[in-house]
Symmetry: C2
Subunit: 702 residues, 2 copies
């Protein structure tokens, strides 16, 4: 069992606190006080104290009578490597390093961190520079926080210690419990993948909630998460991505790919639900932990007031859910006991006079409808309404039927007892019905994420050895911008359909080539320097005869030299004119600093960035994932033939996307590569223009 590796950390039998102290306000004293709830043995270690808070102090771990599982270290950073060495020698399996002053403090601290890890041997370390860890059910509070969390089913892992403290304080007020509350600190050793792994197999944990600032172990994290996510929800709030956008890029793909979008694609590929604010983070964790998974997005809404239901319906639809179409028999059943002016449709507005019994009965009818995947129950205090009776009868129904039920009993004191009753029945309640509808949208998104999870294809192609050698020698020559011809060769070698170009080193040669191809032709700049050819006037389309080809040669030559000097012009390339009856798309890949290659697909052409119709995925993709990527864009409606349009060859396009995604995972030579446009027509898919840049030679680690 993988999770056994962190057992000494989260389920220790005995603990040593290194840096025990009784100085008021000291971290050592706070931790020792917090350890009083720990049922196992606690040893205080201090070279200066004899006794601290009733614990006899040991001068070092060597004098401890037994080998504890866990050391908590709260001493100056400079002394930590030595202490870790002592612990390791003693045979202690894990440490929580509370001390700050490591990598976050510059080169000197980084050296200390390096020494600490070197001293650790097989010992596992949480931190440094962290608040510590709590396991409420085990009575373990290895932190210097002021309180112990309530026991519960959520594992909360945070890269911010301050957020841990604030969340702890909030959870105590709200009565939210945790299976564990972990402050990761600097993640010198134990990282995201270890923690997801551990809580993934921890039976007390029903959902894993993370606040993430960075992801050093991206690859391992995605692998582990993909395995855990189907049986345990993983929810992440990822912060700090507003700095993007400033970097220069050589492709549309680069310009259209922000690191934030890549994180979203990565989380999606691993079945992780990404939320956008703190409130959602805990709310949805509770809901996912306690409610059954919806079988679909069709929401039934039951209400005693029209307005709030209308708002909820809006929120549900804009959150990706659907308003269920009630079956005929449901409408008939409701007719039997609802007042004649009820809404006769979904939302089911029972009107103000609904009794508690009728409320429960209507809920049962709705949940019994096979067109309804989940129920949102709304109630406003009105003259004839009993909020508590309605809540009780709803709870009784919800307990019988295995579909999600969410509730919004609106108002203050008048509905407080009813809300408490719903909470006791594990029915999540919301101040506002639109918030409940939004939560259901997130539930649907999560279900879809998990059911869409796929293993990466293993029949992935191999990267051509000859091409790799050629690219390596280009970048060793100091050049990273490829010519269009070179970019095309990479793609066509690996089976991507390309509209062939032929290079001409003189105007006369260009005319010969065009004559042989047949008119009209396109002429494009051939350059090792300029990649955005069209923007500088390096593209001439629809050339109808030799004279026009000659004129294009001179125009392009002039433009290139004016833009980037004499060396920028090697000649022009000649292409048959692509036929016009197709839709232009873009397919590209760029290299993300955290995740490596990432694939972009979208509406193409020279205005691709403006059209801004794009979707991202982490390669490699099989054709099913490729088709899903395509289906996320708006241009998909044109490709698939909506509004009376002809359906285009989406299947062949998905094949191209899948193949392309596999190419870019099989080499680390390429920094960016894209085809724009690819023209998709009813019977073919063909790339008309391509560009690529290489990773600089010095960055390459084979």
């Amino acid at each position: 069992m993988e999770s056994a590796r962190l057992a000494p950390l989260f389920s220790p039998r005995a603990i040593a606190l290194i840096g025990a102290s009784d100085r008021a306000g000291s971290v050592g004293r706070a931790i020792l006080s917090n350890l009083t709830t720990f049922p196992g043995k606690v040893f205080a270690v201090s070279p200066t104290h004899r006794e601290v808070l009733g614990h006899t102090c040991h001068r070092s771990v060597y004098s401890l009578p037994i080998v504890p599982d866990l050391a908590i270290i709260a001493i100056p950073a400079s002394e930590v490597p030595r202490a870790i060495a002592d612990c390791s020698t003693k045979g202690i399996a894990a440490a929580v390093v509370i001390s700050a002053g490591f990598r976050e403090n510059g080169p000197e601290g980084a050296a200390l961190e390096h020494d600490m890890l070197a001293a650790a041997g097989r010992m596992r370390i949480l931190g440094p520079n962290c608040l510590g860890a709590m396991v409420p059910k085990g009575g373990l509070n290895a932190t210097f926080a002021g309180n112990m969390a309530h026991p519960g089913n959520i594992a909360f892992i945070s890269q911010s210690g301050a957020l841990c403290t604030a969340m702890l304080d909030w959870s105590l007020r709200e009565g939210v419990g945790f299976s564990a509350l972990i402050s990761t600190g600097g993640m010198a050793d134990i990282g995201w993948s270890d923690l997801i792994e551990h809580f993934g197999s921890d039976p007390r944990t029903r959902s894993i909630v993370c606040y993430m600032e960075s992801l050093p172990d991206a690859h391992a994290f995605l692998q582990v998460s993909r395995r855990i996510a189907p049986r345990k929800p993983i929810v992440i709030l990822k912060a700090g991505n507003t700095d993007a956008g400033a970097r220069a890029t050589a492709s549309h793909t680069g310009a259209m790919t922000g690191s934030d979008a890549v994180f979203s694609a990565a989380f999606e590929s691993a079945g992780i639900l990404r939320v956008r604010n703190i409130e959602e983070l805990f709310d949805i964790a509770e809901v996912l932990a306690h409610q059954p998974k919806p079988n679909g997005p069709r929401l039934g809404i039951l209400t005693n007031a029209g307005g709030p239901a209308a708002i909820a319906a809006d929120a549900a639809v804009s959150g990706g859910a659907q308003i269920a179409q009630l079956s005929h028999s449901t409408l008939q059943e409701l007719d039997e006991f609802l007042p004649p002016q009820w809404s006769h449709g979904n939302p089911v507005d029972m009107l103000g006079a609904a009794s508690g019994t009728a409320y429960g009965r209507a809920a049962a009818v709705l949940l019994g409808d096979e067109n309804v995947d989940a129920l949102l129950a709304i109630l406003t205090p009105q003259a004839m309404t009993s909020p508590l009776e309605s809540a009780d009868s709803l709870a009784a129904v919800a307990a019988r039927i295995n579909k999600p039920v969410l509730a919004s009993w609106m108002g203050g004191d008048a509905v407080a007892p009813a809300r408490a009753a719903l909470n006791r029945a594990s029915i999540p309640t919301y101040d506002y019905p639109d918030a409940a509808a939004h939560a259901f949208g997130l539930m649907c998104e999560h279900s879809k994420l998990v059911s869409n999870l796929r293993q990466p294809p293993d029949d992935a192609l191999t990267f051509d050895t000859g091409t790799a050698k050629e690219l390596d020698s280009i970048r060793k020559s100091g050049r990273t911008t490829l010519t269009t011809l070179e970019a095309e060769r990479i793609l066509s070698t690996h089976g991507i359909p390309i509209l062939e170009s032929t290079a001409a080193r003189s105007a006369a040669e260009a005319v010969r080539i065009a004559d042989a191809l047949g008119y009209p032709v396109a002429a494009k700049l051939w350059s090792e320097r300029i990649t955005h050819k069209a923007r500088i006037g390096g593209v001439a389309l629809n050339l109808r005869d030799a004279q026009e080809v000659r004129a294009a040669w001179h125009r392009i030559e002039h433009a290139a030299r004016a833009q980037a000097g004499d060396n920028a012009f090697l000649g022009i390339t000649i292409q048959r004119m692509a036929h016009q009856h197709g839709v232009e798309v873009i397919l590209g890949s760029t290299t993300d600093s955290t995740f490596g290659p990432v694939v972009l697909f979208g509406a193409g052409g020279s205005l691709a960035e403006v059209i801004s119709d794009r979707a991202f995925a982490l390669p490699p993709l099989d054709t099913t994932s490729a088709a899903r990527l395509i289906a996320k864009t708006r241009v998909h409606s044109v490709l698939s033939g909506k509004d009376g349009r002809e359906a285009l060859n989406v299947k062949a396009l998905a094949d191209v996307v899948a193949r392309f995604s596999q190419i870019v995972t099989k080499t680390s030579l390429i920094a960016e590569i894209e085809m724009n446009p690819i023209v998709v027509s009813a019977d073919s898919v063909i790339a008309i223009d391509s560009r690529a840049t290489l990773q600089p030679a010095e960055q390459f680690t084979p």
Copy 2:
């Protein structure tokens, strides 16, 4: 004073309750009980009771010793017209009709409503079918709700009575106060414009908050709101728009315009802030009522923890605010007293050890920076932190400086007293810092809306009389789809630059026209039936000689007849080929059922719907508003020459948009009209293709 008209309703000196009752659970009893807080005279009217709850009953209003200002009516609907007639005869100025059973109940109820209005004379009526109205400061509770609201500065106007009750209950728990709480009911008489007018000049009201389901008096409402909004925030939650999208349309403009988007454009034109959920509605109303208006979007963030500040910065940027760039002197001043490892930038992370005094000092420095328009103060409970001292010193600073300050003291009990202190100082506090940042984004949006408010242009053009006659005779003939030539003529007559087309009734005539124009030319279907020419193969571009023109004639003829019968083909139109060096945009207008004509601008071409880059505005527009409309789209970055592109003639385009917007306001003959594409180049703006449909003759009311 306009507002004096509703004074009898909201500031009555004496009230008559018609339908007084002491029956337990009756509405009449509930209202009479609620009227005990009213300081003026209350008369109970009932034909059957002698005395009710200590009030001697009058058999009718005629026997009242004085003329009350206000009647509250809670009797069966069938008796209401008679009661209203009595009140009117007696000279009562206003009535609140609580009774239900009018238009919402079908034709019979609608007839009763008609009778009621006819009987009212000059009397003003709130309702029918409403909860009533409260004016807490005046002790007026003319509702059957269980409680009286706290006095405050927010006027809440709701089209849902149930939402009123729920909000009242919620406000009592949260301590939120109201200047008035109004349930509009069916709005048979008093509508949105009356109420906005009244509370706009009510000195006790500092912000107006509305829950809206429909807007029957759209024109008057927008006019009044435009006048009120600059001095008093108007915030609206509009519900119930998810049903759109199903209707068939004859234009891109129609397909791309949802009624929800039109509401947004209308609110924007009147300086109204639209919010998307109930929570925002009240939150932002409080903030706008109590905080100074920000001078700009640049937010300073002060924090004692990095993680929450990073989340807040993300939320601020995605909400449209900016992270302020601190001045050099601010950085120097902060260096003087912050620990050496502070973040040295914005967000200003003071780290965990910040004292209350240092917190206040840092807040003062930030608010003193002329690059900072507002401050978001974040605090998490940490070992060395005093939440209350920090709150107090922040409040002292905020009181001195006239810039918005928002706060998030995160956590539960540990920060509760500090939050209370902030609330007392009118500093809005949030559980989560991202929610605070989001609120600041709304404040910025509101400021921008108000400062962008413009009077509609009064130099608007007049619609050509000849054209109007011609269009009217076309629709009287039963045809509503115009030919391209007819659509073009409307536009060119009113000064819109059009690439001229010439109609050909035979292939030979088409060739003669093309010869005269010079090749290449474009040929398009000429039809009174088919408006989406390209989709059915009715467009042929780049025809290079007579032979190609002849071939195009036959192709188009065949396609049109196959698609829509022999009558669909009148011939073809011939146009010079438009030059290619421009960007295609769409400009159109459609008729909204609430607001009338609405203008759409966006990226154009045959894929306009897919590109889905569009913005809406209510016409007429001057060139400044037209330029703002253009600037809202993504294609604007291309038009204005970003990324090294050539800047195009945006000024001429804005002129065309403004002129077009004025055309569509000057006639009610046109249902939809659009130009797609308009080609914008560096020196010109020209419409290449147009289409239009007319309002059917029977719908036209001159």
